[in-house]
Symmetry: C2
Subunit: 233 residues, 2 copies
Amino acid sequence: MLELIAFDADDTLWQTEDLYARTQDRFEQLMAPFGQAQAVAQKLRQTESRNLELYGYGIKAFMLSMLEAALELSDGGIAGRDLQTLINWGREMLTADVRLLQDVESTLAVLSRSHPLMVLTKGDLRDQESKLSRSGLGGYFTHTEIVSHKSRDTYAALLAKYHVAASRFLMVGNSLRSDVLPVVELGGFAVHIPYYLTWEHEQVASNATDTRSYFELENIAGLPALVERLHRL
Amino acid sequence: MLELIAFDADDTLWQTEDLYARTQDRFEQLMAPFGQAQAVAQKLRQTESRNLELYGYGIKAFMLSMLEAALELSDGGIAGRDLQTLINWGREMLTADVRLLQDVESTLAVLSRSHPLMVLTKGDLRDQESKLSRSGLGGYFTHTEIVSHKSRDTYAALLAKYHVAASRFLMVGNSLRSDVLPVVELGGFAVHIPYYLTWEHEQVASNATDTRSYFELENIAGLPALVERLHRL
């Protein structure tokens, strides 16, 4: 019955928010001469939020936001070597080991035997392709789609492109806002696998969700059994 | 006979290199206290080239390369307000008017009546989608594909995805290296429309090309007649 199973990548297949959170901690320490940790964190969040429309998602956008926040917090007085340090942290993030979440590989191995699988992720093109390649998971996926946002229209266009009806599509991801709600609206199936860290931008008010219309799993390992259940419907 | 006509975007549909060249001129002026124009330009080129694999294409990558080159050229001594100026120039580039090249709109209007058209461009996802949207050309294209590089494998994968044989595919672009040679290798048709500025990275040695296997047009306005000729083959 299901013709296509798509997976979000960041914090669904591999850790991502941890990397940002760790760099943000270091940023707060570096900027300590110019402000309390809380004020520094707030400035960075505001800068990211202001830049989101212009820069989009991803580590390069985050690097630019760190640099801008550092210049603004220090009123241009921050030392050049500290700015270079920020750039170096970004470069470390871009080349950091891809840490797979638990049971991801074994689950994909099982499901890829019976279904075409797709990676369907937001973010920076180069960065996401590089992570997929370094993750070693590339072989399990028939399709890769990297998109700039995940709205109902994005999903509708993708399903049309692949000639798949929404009722035969299952999306798996950690973001209610991006991975679950728009798919459910279209009449597709969605599985929410929460990650302990959620980027503020991805959070939705809990009353915006209807818990009956999608599935929630604690761990991706439960997915093959769920897929089998759907096939028996 | 042709089932799909794809167009490169930057410097094929609209001006792009001009924007980079103009910002590079301003960069040379700003960095004059730290080096001769030629040395500054060389440093920026080297930095871009070093970063290409890690950052990919696009304006955000260029912004980071300008900042890194400025920090290195000044040995960290450049003023914070000058770095902010570099960031502002990048932001201007990201929101600059999209300047269509001559006869692009009328040509797309003609061809879109008889063929499905695709935008097939390298670069930064958010940036390219934004330019397409601001260009007003979106309505002429059935498909949009933004890729991180344009190799023979990239084209082969795309044609498989759209179920189009290479022999029924025509690619139009300003880069021999990215738009023409890989398509010709696959057995497809390609039209080269040179732009007066070519980014160094896209240049190929002239002996790498076989002038018999692709078409060259001075202006995109010649495309409908060429397509008609191909259909009569």
